[in-house]
Symmetry: C2
Subunit: 342 residues, 2 copies
Amino acid sequence: METRTELSTIGEFGLIKLIDSKFQSINPETIKGIGDDAAIIDTAGRELVVSTDLLMEGIHFDLAYTPLKHLGYKAVAVNVSDIAAMNAIPKQITVSLGLSNRFSVEAIEELYEGIKIACDEYKVDLVGGDTSASRSGLVISITALGTAEKKNIVLRNTANTNDIICVSGDLGAAYIGLQILEREKQVFLANPDMQPQLDKDKDYVIERQLKPNARMDVIYELRDLGVIPTAMIDISDGLAAEILHLCKNSGTGAVIFEDKIPIDDQTYLMATDLNFSPMTAALNGGEDYELLFTVKQEDFETIKNMSDISFLGYMTNDVDGVKLMMKSGTLINVTSPGFEHF
Amino acid sequence: METRTELSTIGEFGLIKLIDSKFQSINPETIKGIGDDAAIIDTAGRELVVSTDLLMEGIHFDLAYTPLKHLGYKAVAVNVSDIAAMNAIPKQITVSLGLSNRFSVEAIEELYEGIKIACDEYKVDLVGGDTSASRSGLVISITALGTAEKKNIVLRNTANTNDIICVSGDLGAAYIGLQILEREKQVFLANPDMQPQLDKDKDYVIERQLKPNARMDVIYELRDLGVIPTAMIDISDGLAAEILHLCKNSGTGAVIFEDKIPIDDQTYLMATDLNFSPMTAALNGGEDYELLFTVKQEDFETIKNMSDISFLGYMTNDVDGVKLMMKSGTLINVTSPGFEHF
């Protein structure tokens, strides 16, 4: 039998000590992490960027099919993604947890193992947090801090007409992965003896849902190439919603081309299997955490050979609105149903 | 009848817009607040301090007797208190909320009104956050950022033998206030026709529980006097626990004198009324949010006339442990039951 240590046996201070023992700071800017009233950070003259996310059990994740280690990783990655979307470098995070007593110490260690893997991968230091009991589900609140020189910071509202619209990776997979996990859960609930079928032909879309990447690699590559996007946002709510954000904030319109929207083969196959349109998944499915950004026309030559970037179209005049040019040649208006959590 | 607007009618983006409209930035360091992937902060060469707190309904607060406006104020104040305890100046906060649909838009506006009052009082800017649905109770996660010159930052682990132990305000009131609120709630639950009796003779202890102050006034006064404490912590878990923290972290012992521990008259009266020891409330009751700090002997002359500071005793050698000298002359060991949320 697996060891199960009740949280009450080590208590709040025991838990903090356990967490502290697993995390060593990497960044020289992290002067003091866990262990005082607040963490101390030296930003060395750079601008600080701050982002925060609240993940609630039953709303953002379902522990029926989400391994705690993946959840820990994802919670960090989605915050790092917000820092990346400012063209900044993530440096520190704080992690607060609301825990019910159904979680053992071992379960919380699993969660922190995922957090640690993400911290190592994105080179961020865990510098603080809070732990609390919860009367109900698991609550994870993460705040991420990053730095950038002022000239490198990229906002949402600074795209211009004729800028080229770029996106990293591929879209819609995380949403299709979620649909498969939900379907398998229903099968399992209906017949607990039937094990969920998570074959290799679904591994990509499921990993995209459970363990998304923050695209820091794109940020570093753009730096190496000397290109600063004119505007940037990360895709948490689907391509349509995010492109509308960029346009609304920048006061531009846009044209994007259906045949340029990157969709992975497995996403296509699995979407079809679910009787779901792959294009709808890409446009309105959430949680891809890819970067959507615009560059000046003159920068196109420099970035055109970037390996994992698609060029979707270009920004237009405000009055033109946001349009999708279909393969058929039809031009349709892009509107977003939004991604409302209430 | 009061207006009740369902949260679903304005949605997540409507809520963000509503919040944004109520908060204007005060600090020049706040370059960009709400509205992008992350907030942008210029720390102007100072060190940054970061603290975070997670407040959960049913664990940290009971909405049966906690007005939402007070709760919003308190959520900010307890974070500002952590920044104060670093001898730093609070500058920005992020506020994340998990909300069930039993909260109307008007209720959330009440909560933010309290947050706004605290932001104005402590001169902090709301720069971001996240809003989410919650399957159960209200969840409030706040992260506070502050700045200080490196030489001004005060930690927990830097007190020395013979340093004088100081505390602001008075202790135990918040705990007694909580006991009264809990008692009145039980009376009300037993007989809903009987209205809770919250007379003027209880107003101080109840306000200390529902709307505690962060003692930034003490921080500013110490700056004006040119005194930097040798160590500091805020009292969230009772005097005993916090003095043990200071001693354990600094490698010192301490002697404190019972007759120097500041307890308000109303705390005494109400504690007696509840058959509860006022001294136990001061030593082990939580949520006073006063500042406990140590200063060098040579600084005593400078601060001895500060209006709201009590001098409890002095730090001793590690091997002496932490002792309380009773009025009777008896010396007892201070141990802490701790303040465990699990």
